[in-house]
């Protein structure tokens, strides 16, 4: 993994009795597509808003290239908030140009960049259309253009895949990958852990405002105890596995005759193959990647859905609006 460009260090934030961030710490390496994952209500939006000073922190620090994030650095960041928003009655090109100028671009360069990005995102023929005359999908692209127009060094996107159809997800992930190849650090959030596991190279998964795990997706899918899937012919219940010594690993589950083992560290998978062959014909024998949602469940003891329901109940009890209607009091700079 390359060096960390963006660091979150001990972020804390409470809204009344609800703790949004509870000492959140992780780092985002340069030039990667980095997924910031967790159930709704885990604190992702508050963290992303804090990067831009749009949400205040009770404690902790966010650093960009080793320095605490300041106004000057933010000019080189691009942001697509969870709550999409553009001026409804403003013409598309003027609007994107305006956002470019708000990021310190001179007028001529802003116009050029706005034209470039609108063409690139397939909106070249809608430059003079009002934003509220665009289709939903085109509004999403316009929002992305507003985040990309000033050629940011860091791209922060809050739930960029929410509400996209499968084609839209593919387009969006292609653009994110393209930006990362161009050297941009891309941080995006999602509560759909399994949807995005193929899109990002590395992730941080959070829950209750704390880091659960972070690292390369491939490493997390493998885990400390790699998963081995073995099926023996004529044994739909996977009963042969009962003969396996406990020090090799433990049975996670049996799925349609296939036994899934969590292999003990240092255990030899060939020993398991020998036991299987002794029991019958081995029809399937392979290592299998875990889904990120399973990684989450394994680490927290709750599924993503359970965690979201639990958060919603806690928010209701505290009298705060649920996710989607959340509050961010105080803009501090």
């Amino acid at each position: 993994m390359t060096t960390a460009e963006l660091e979150f260090d001990g972020l804390r934030r409470t809204f009344g009795t609800v703790t949004a961030l509870d000492g959140l710490t992780f780092a985002v390496p340069a030039g990667q597509v980095f997924g910031f994952l967790g159930p709704n209500g885990a604190g992702k939006t508050t963290t992303m808003r804090a990067i831009f000073g749009v949400a205040s922190l009770d404690a902790g620090q966010i650093r960009w290239r080793g320095e605490p994030v300041a106004e000057q650095a933010r000019q080189r960041f691009g942001y697509m908030p969870e709550e999409r928003g553009l001026y409804p009655s403003m013409k598309l090109l003027e609007q994107i140009e305006y956002f470019a100028m708000l990021h310190d671009m001179p007028a001529a360069a802003a116009r050029k960049a706005a034209t470039h990005w609108l063409r690139r995102l397939g909106l070249g023929d809608r430059e003079d259309a009002r934003v509220d005359a665009l289709s939903h999908g085109n509004q999403q692209r316009a929002q992305l253009a507003a985040a990309l127009v000033h050629d940011p060094e860091l791209l922060v996107l809050d739930e960029p895949f929410a509400g996209l159809d499968p084609g839209g997800v593919d387009d969006m992930s292609a653009i994110l990958a393209d930006r990362a190849r161009a050297g941009v650090t891309v941080l995006f959030s999602s509560h759909q852990l399994d949807l995005v596991e193929d899109i990002c190279e590395a992730v941080a998964i959070i829950h209750h405002g704390r880091l659960v795990v972070s690292g390369l997706v491939a490493d997390l899918q493998r885990g400390e105890r790699p998963r081995l899937a073995v099926r023996v012919g004529g044994d739909p219940g996977g009963d042969w596995a009962a003969a396996m010594p406990a020090q090799l690993g433990e049975i996670e589950t049996v799925r349609a005759g296939t036994v899934l083992f969590a292999l003990s560290p240092g255990a030899d998978s060939q020993q398991i193959l020998d036991i299987a062959r002794a029991a019958g014909t081995v029809e399937h024998f392979s290592f299998e990647a875990r889904r990120l949602s399973e990684v989450f469940r394994h680490a927290t003891g709750a599924s993503v859905g359970q965690a979201e329901a639990e958060h919603a109940a806690a928010a209701r009890a505290a009298g705060a609006p649920e996710a989607g209607g959340r509050t961010t009091a105080g803009v501090t700079r």
Binding site: G16, E83, R84
Partner: protein, 398 residues
Amino acid sequence: MNQRSLRMTWLVARRELLQRGRTRIFAVSTIILLVAVALGVALPAILSRGAKPERVGVVGGSPATLAVIVKEAGRLADVQVTVVPEPDVATAKAALRSGDLGAVLVNGVEVLVKQVPIGGASSSGGTLPGALAQLAGLSRLFDQVPAAAAAAANGIALPVHGLIAPSGTLANRLTGLFTVVLVWVMISVYGSQIALGIGEEKSSRVVEVLLASVRPAQLLTGKVLGIGLLALAQAAAMVFAFVVAGFAAGSSLVHGAAIGIVLIGGVFVVVGYAFYCTAFAAAGSLVSRQSDVNSTIMPVQLPLIIAYALSYTVLYANGANAFYHVLGFLPPTAPVAMPVLYAAGDVPLWQVVVSALLCAAGTVWMARIAARIYTRSILRTGARVPLKQVLRRDLAQA
């Protein structure tokens, strides 16, 4: 403010100017206002200049004597008159009904008009029939009581002396009314635009994208500055139209004190806008749907509405009461109340200056409170933000 801060503020203001100044509604409303101002000033002057002489019929009596009475009545009522001898009363009545004659003097003892105005003809001394009736009556008195003529030669009316100098003339009061209507309209129309614009930014959520690169104070300042420049341009155009139309039509309004009233009105449009713009912005930031804006700006507009409603009592009475004088010095009501007091001749110029300075000082105070409300509520979505909550620091963190 550093250079970048100024640039951000100007970019926000520039967007407001370009987006709003280009709209058809702005062009149309400006044209309508300018035409209204020009007509309001020029029309009375043009109409009085082009007025036809009033035709007064005369029946019986000595035509020469009656003609003198009619001419004199015309002079008193400030109307040009033409004497039209009529053969008999029936013909004169027919001419009166058809509108050919304005009044008929019958045998020097009776004045006929088509319809007696409410309040009676003779009570309205400034009108032609009124003057005619009084002069003809006087002439008849002299005929019947020879001594009366001698008495009249020495003057029959008693002198009237006022204890204090006369306050503003009717023309000044009307100009004052016209001015405060414009002050009130400008502040509420452009104030509402601020609130609606901020409501739009909040409800469309574009504000979060903006705040990622612009500070709330810059966004707020740029917005009120941009809309304020538009308002200022429109107000300046209206004052210009007032002066140009007034001179072109030879209106008496531009020569007397009225021009001062209009200029003071212009000053209070600026000061009043400055005072109210941030309050409207704060009100706009409390809502989450644009349709809720109207109900939150109502309390903001209330002081102006009260001052405006009470202004009629000042403009149509001789001298404002103490309460209205107080309103003239309170920043929330001064923008409307002070031009009214000045137009009515109730305050000297130095008091107007003091009031404007107090209002300007109030602007700073209002801007600080409004900026606090704005900053705390602009990113809060969901239900309308309770004012109490954003004003209390501890609760605002919740």
